[in-house]
């Protein structure tokens, strides 16, 4: 089958899995303004921003010959549950009849999950499937580890852009690795390459750490979030993202009894503020802000698609978290009209704020951390 999938984050892993199952993978191009325009043109005006971008991605993938689209199903109560149906209808209206395979958490609907697996598996013998799964799982973990390193050291690189270039190179190395040995090699080599990057030395106590939380698509896909990680890094802050693929897989795919995951912990932390699931990633966003506060991060950037209801709810909870922990949070809403220049100004001002707070915290000692910082909102 000629398969494709929505472009999100480190795409080499999906590609690898599908290839190992014997499919021809049509790589969707990384979203660009063209993708967004295409998506906006064919999507209902009030649809969420991620839906529009993914829509554009599908058109581009189909253009390149994709016949089957594999995607993960979000689940309600927000609109994520309808993505696949909306996408399918729009595509059909435009004369594209492609198949969709929608993966959901295997615990939610085991039957469909197994059917989907069977379809994807095709004629691949079982042992090969297991090998492929294991390979990819291993690969995700390794890539995530390297990426976390990238997000840390890029803040201090001497030659701007070097870390990103190397990171892209590393992903290409992983793309070419088909055996576990090759994978290990790629990993070791990648680590060495990252370690060789020339860095400014910054005292541990002067390091600024920022967490990124929010709706998964805008958090994971940097082409639509103003390259937030790179932007924060370039302003001298270390970055950690709320979502990494390995965590998602652990949470959604591993059987309950061995499923210890960060996400469970996060969900628990959000209970006092948001006791129920309201869809999207609102509960995670809230829990992650608490988690970052507890771990001593200097600030959080909260990304939400414009008009995303779950994240609007989490945004409204932020002042409360703030009262308890005093962590500065900057909410940025993203859509096709988001003014990059203005958001850039906000992020710069936010980092100024975080830095001076950090300095103050150093000079006052950890004891009386200033709790007056409020939630920074952006309007317009």
């Amino acid at each position: 089958m000629k398969v494709s999938f929505p472009y999100m984050g480190t795409t080499v892993v999906y590609k690898k899995l599908l290839e190992m199952l014997g499919h021809e993978v049509i790589m969707p191009p990384k979203p660009t303004q063209k993708t967004i325009n295409l998506g906006v043109k064919y999507s209902p005006e009030f649809a969420c921003f991620p839906l529009k971008v993914i829509m554009g991605s599908y058109f581009e993938a189909i253009d390149k010959g994709a016949e089957v689209i594999i995607t993960s199903g979000g689940h309600g109560p927000c609109r994520a549950g309808f993505y696949e149906r909306v996408h399918r209808r729009i595509l059909e209206a435009e004369g594209h009849f492609v198949d969709f395979i929608v993966f959901d958490s295997m615990f939610r609907d085991r039957k469909t999950f197994i059917e989907n697996v069977k379809r994807l598996k095709g004629k691949t013998p079982l042992h090969k499937v297991i090998h492929a799964l294991w390979m990819v799982y291993d690969m995700i973990g390794k890539l995530d580890k390297l990426e976390m390193e990238v997000q840390r050291i890029r803040a201090y690189e001497v030659n701007r852009g070097e870390t990103t270039r190397i990171w892209e190179h590393i992903q290409k190395m992983f793309d070419k690795a088909y055996t576990r040995g090759a994978l290990r090699n790629a990993y070791d080599k990648g680590r060495k390459m990252l370690a060789a990057i020339e860095l400014h030395s910054v005292e541990e106590e002067n390091r600024i750490r920022i967490g990124i939380v929010g709706e998964i698509y805008v958090v994971m896909e940097d082409s639509i979030n103003m390259k937030m990680e790179q932007l924060l890094n370039s302003l001298g802050a270390e970055v950690e993202r709320s979502q990494y693929l390995s965590q998602w897989v652990t949470y959604n795919m591993l059987p309950k009894w061995i499923n210890w995951s960060h996400e469970k912990h996060i969900l628990k932390l959000s209970d006092p503020y948001l006791p129920i699931q309201i869809g999207g990633h609102a509960k995670q966003s809230v829990g992650q802000i608490v988690d970052y506060s507890r771990r001593g991060f200097d600030g959080v950037v909260h990304l939400m698609p414009f008009g995303c209801l779950p994240e609007l709810v989490s945004q409204s909870i932020i002042p409360k978290i703030n009262e308890d922990f005093g962590i500065p949070v900057l909410t940025i809403s993203l859509d096709e009209q988001a003014g990059i220049a203005n958001n850039q100004t906000r992020v710069e001002a936010f980092i100024d704020l975080v830095k001076s707070k950090h300095k103050e915290r150093l000079s006052q000692g950890e004891k009386n951390i200033n709790k007056s910082t409020q939630h920074v909102t952006t309007t317009g």
Binding site: Q33, N159, R160, T164, T373, T377, G380
Partner: protein, 324 residues
């Protein structure tokens, strides 16, 4: 010899250039309409400034802020290029050290900055919705046929209160016409408009924030007595308008330039007033070397590229050797 600092605030509507001494006394200040041409505007400003420049003066540092901060920063050779929020807050904290809340309303944008202990702890900024900015008033002054400069006095002369829906400029306009037909005077309508703007502004930007006194109100709109009165009514507290309310962004960047210079005794990057005679040509292109498709801005001086930015990967930025 007097050590002087230059601060430049390049907004989309207007550009301010100030010259201050070490204690931030204003020596000269220029206000020029930007008209979409930041480079030309700053050149004009520099030429004017040169005429007023003290003979014994020497520029020790230059700061730029505002939406054109980067472009103009390259052109004049700025030591500090800072965002508007930090620049504004820096100036306010300098002039009103115990300030807690800053209201800033300019022609095209508006912000609220919350300060605690001389440190920015929170902010919000509105750049899209016109209903909370000065252009809202400009618009209505045109409709009413009353020059904007007279708005303040007119508002103060109103006898009665009238509530005008100010959620959005379009609503405000139709509501205003309706209220006029009800027989409210122009003064009363203007007062109502001022109150609508303030309500809107606070609702939009102040949501979820602790707004505590001392309150400082700055930006071009602070000249309007009607708005000041509306603010005091809305928050039920006195409002301070700093002497230089109109040029706070530029002053802030001058202060940042001074403070940046304080520690390091480095030479300023200022190109000198001759910068006004140099031919800077900005242009943009879309890089297609990777799917990022960055819009890269480049500035040429004598056909030589002196600055580039806008690339995500740094390959263009880094390819420029810093010249002169």
């Amino acid at each position: 010899m007097r050590e002087l600092y230059l601060g430049v605030d390049v907004g989309s509507v207007s550009t301010n250039i100030v010259l201050v001494d070490e204690d931030i006394n204003v020596i000269s200040s220029q206000y020029i309409r930007t008209n979409g041409q930041p480079l030309e505007t700053v050149k004009t400003g520099l030429k004017k400034l040169k005429k007023e420049f003290p003979v014994d003066g020497k520029i020790k540092g230059v700061g730029t802020t505002g939406s054109g901060r980067q472009l103009v920063g390259v052109m004049i050779g700025a030591d500090v290029i800072k965002n508007e929020i930090t620049a504004h807050a820096t100036a306010t904290i300098h002039f009103v050290p115990n300030v807690k809340t800053i209201f800033e309303i300019g022609g095209q944008d508006s912000k609220i900055i919350v300060v605690d202990n001389q440190m920015v702890t929170d902010f919000a900024m509105n750049t899209v919705c016109a209903a909370g900015t000065g252009s809202f008033l400009d618009h209505q002054s045109e409709r009413l046929g009353i020059p904007i400069e007279e708005f303040g006095d007119k508002a103060m002369a109103a006898d009665r209160d009238v509530r005008i829906a100010g959620r959005c400029t379009v609503f405000a306009e139709s509501d205003m016409i309706a209220k006029q037909q009800f027989g409210f005077s122009k003064s009363e309508i203007i007062k109502g408009l001022c109150e609508a703007l303030v309500r809107n502004y606070i609702n939009n930007l102040g949501r979820g924030k602790k707004l505590e006194p001392p309150f400082v109100f700055q930006g071009g709109v602070a000249a309007n007595k009607g708005i000041k009165a509306a603010f005091e009514k809305e928050i039920n507290h006195e409002i301070i308008i700093p002497e230089h309310y109109n040029i706070m962004g530029a002053l802030g960047s001058a202060i940042l330039a001074r403070d940046g210079n304080w520690n390091s005794q480095t030479e300023t990057l200022f190109r000198g007033f001759e910068a006004a005679d140099l031919e800077f040509v900005p242009s943009t292109f879309e890089c297609e070397d990777c799917p990022n498709h960055c819009e890269v801005v480049e500035v040429r001086l004598d056909k030589k590229i002196v600055a580039r930015w806008g690339d995500r990967c740094g390959k263009w930025t880094n390819s420029v050797n810093t010249v002169i």
